[in-house]
Symmetry: C2
Subunit: 417 residues, 2 copies
């Protein structure tokens, strides 16, 4: 096997150039520093299906799917064709295209709670807008959110203590433990009549931690309290939406939010986000001014309509669940064979694996580095994604690579205690 | 001439469907209500060059250019080709493409103040991020901004009194009159040591008002005060950037901001925004966490690099200035011929026309409606944009249409007093 610095020669060369002209070289959640420095590709050359090739020509089976957006496979011919056909006519203009109405009608039909829909570019466009709508609707200020949850990089979403955040940005946030109904109810009691809304993900998917599925009765309890206290229940379904249930992840967990935010899988990588809401929220949603330079562009909407239709036609939710279960079973089996205890948490389609016996993620990092080196991209700190392009052979190959990566983890850190 | 309701039959039909599934049918700055209800197209079918066709087949010479992004002409073959070539390889992935480094290097070379650059999707991604950087850099809270300026739809940018905005969102904003150096200095004096930054547009381009060019010495005075008081000078060049001066609009007005925000014309309609900054801001820019689902996508970056190169090669800034001057002269002449006094304000490439003698914009609205009906899209309340695709013949045709529209204004409202 080649040295890592040889393997990522072009990536490193490009990164050195980037570091001069871009703060951190690559910023945000894609910064290589938090993946595996010098032991991970930094730049992509080509994508196709469930695979990509970095600028050094290395090939990967991808379990990050661009951190979510890729759900049908990269460069999906049907989605790209729909986008191209629209592009030939019109994309951005002074007005939206007919496609905006078609897509809105499609989504309103697809998602049972949806009485209306709006579109934007970033997931954060939606989470920000949802808070404004909830505040306008209730004439209250406070928002309950979960510790360790991610809702974007706006000051309020970054949370207290982050660079650039001032006290006023966060002083109306109330933090609770995701999944703890008692804590939620206590927060509501403590700020009785002051809570405008709560923004929560359908299940808890923090980075650097196991994923948490909703305890029995949690969502029904949250819904009941919100109803009783006039609190707007906002679902942040940005990461999980269209992967767990085409009708919205809340359908899987048996509750109905007032507003739900989508992005990621909605258009297979074309820049689009969306928010749906119930009839009672329509007037408030109309009252909060809401726009952006490219928000009504037609091409991503055409891509989205094609994506949503294919997701249904090909029964993708079922498929990625099955493939995810296959991966999970294989990982658990291989880990055990090396006397390593792992936990695979979260829904199979968006699972995450941690090692049970260490808290510092060094074994996770080594596992990822060794897998990446062998052509399978597993992230050490962030949940993974399975796409419709992952076939049984890809999963089996990935499990075999995991076997070798586990072997290295066992060699370096020893068996689990 | 057909009745308006016949002329926009398909637009109205679509809008009725949209009103059921989208709050306001069409939201934000594109809502038809603020343009010319029932007397304007609502949906686009096809775009090409400086023209577009609505869903009823009506043709328009476009002076809104999608509210800015279209600068080279719709469906520009060279820009689209660059985008397609990149798309065939990779767009979104777990990593950026080499194009991100190339584009960053190009922009850093193009814009003299730029020592670094970051990219996002919305203009507002940049204005929001710039405030966080300024606050982190100075460890201060307050931001000076201009009354009537637009910096996006974030709560702080929406400003006090808007739906969904709470006091805490705006309590650290200090509002001054754009172009009034004394007022600026008084605000700095009043909150001495508390001002983190100021965010201002290069010239003042409010809606529903004349545009204001910088008084002599204004920018030099602002810069001097910022230097003396350790205030970060943020330029919101989102609307004017790459139209007035390729090196940044500040070069036209002879000053240097610490940070400048771009969007609109940067990629001829592909979803991209950018921020550049000076060396002193680099560490702070690196410290504020900053990301979004589609921010490192390669296709809009390829489109941007092509756009910026063509802007330079074809000397577009010079051309649109000339065409803008031609339009301005024609409008003034035609208005005078009908005994109407108009003011055409702002830079020629982004000019805006108002009628001198009314404050309610009803004559502006009638003028726009009559022009739109005759195939020229002039906005009654928002500044206009000229693109490289507007040729002399288009301008001349537009002036002839303006002649007829002025005639109608004169007929309905009488001559200016």
């Amino acid at each position: 096997m080649t040295k890592d610095t040889d393997r990522y020669k072009n990536s490193i060369k490009l990164f050195k150039r980037a570091a001069k002209v871009i703060p951190q070289g690559i910023y945000g959640h894609l910064t290589p520093v938090i993946v595996a420095p010098l032991a991970s590709p930094y730049y992509v050359e080509k994508t196709k299906g469930c695979k990509y090739w970095d600028v050094d020509g290395n090939e990967y089976i991808d379990y990050m799917c661009s951190y979510g957006p890729m759900v049908l496979g990269y460069n999906h011919p049907e989605v790209d064709k729909a986008a191209e056909e629209q592009k030939k006519k019109a994309d951005i203009c002074n007005h939206p295209g007919e496609i905006m109405v078609e897509l809105a009608e499609h989504i309103n039909k697809l998602i049972p709670i949806a009485d209306w829909v709006v579109f934007g570019k970033n997931g954060a466009d939606m989470t920000n807008h949802s808070l404004m709508i909830a505040r306008h609707h209730t004439k209250r200020k406070k928002i309950i959110m979960a510790k360790g949850a991610y809702h974007g990089t706006a000051p309020w979403a970054s949370g207290p203590g982050h660079a650039g955040v001032i006290d006023e940005d966060v002083q109306n946030l109330v933090f609770v433990t995701w999944g703890d109904l008692n804590e939620f109810n206590e927060a509501v009691e403590k700020y009785k009549g002051e809570i405008a809304g709560t923004i929560l993900t359908p299940y808890h998917h923090p980075t650097w931690a196991n994923q948490v599925m909703p305890p029995k009765g949690y969502w029904q309890g949250v819904r009941k309290t919100c109803d009783e206290e006039g609190i707007i229940l906002i679902l942040d379904d940005i990461r999980a939406g269209f992967r767990l249930n085409l009708q919205g992840s809340h359908e899987l967990f048996g509750f109905k939010p007032d507003i739900s935010c989508y992005c990621k899988a909605i258009a297979n990588g074309y820049a689009l986000s969306a928010m749906v809401g119930t009839e009672k929220m329509r007037i408030s949603a109309s009252s909060v001014f809401y726009t952006g330079s490219y928000w009504l562009s037609a091409v991503p909407m055409a891509a989205s309509l094609a994506t949503l239709k294919i997701l249904k036609r090909d029964n993708v939710v079922e498929k990625i669940k099955k493939m995810g279960e296959l991966l999970k079973a294989g990982l658990e089996e291989m880990a055990q064979a090396h006397d390593l205890e792992v936990e695979v948490t979260g829904p199979p389609a968006t699972q995450f694996m941690t090692f049970k016996d260490r808290g510092d993620f060094r074994n996770s990092q080594l596992f990822s580095v060794e897998a990446i080196k062998r052509g399978v991209f597993f992230h050490p700190h962030h949940n993974w994604f399975v796409s419709a392009a992952h076939e049984r052979a890809d999963i089996e190959k990935s499990i075999n690579v995991a076997d070798e990566a586990f072997k290295e983890v066992r060699r370096v850190f020893g068996p689990s205690e």
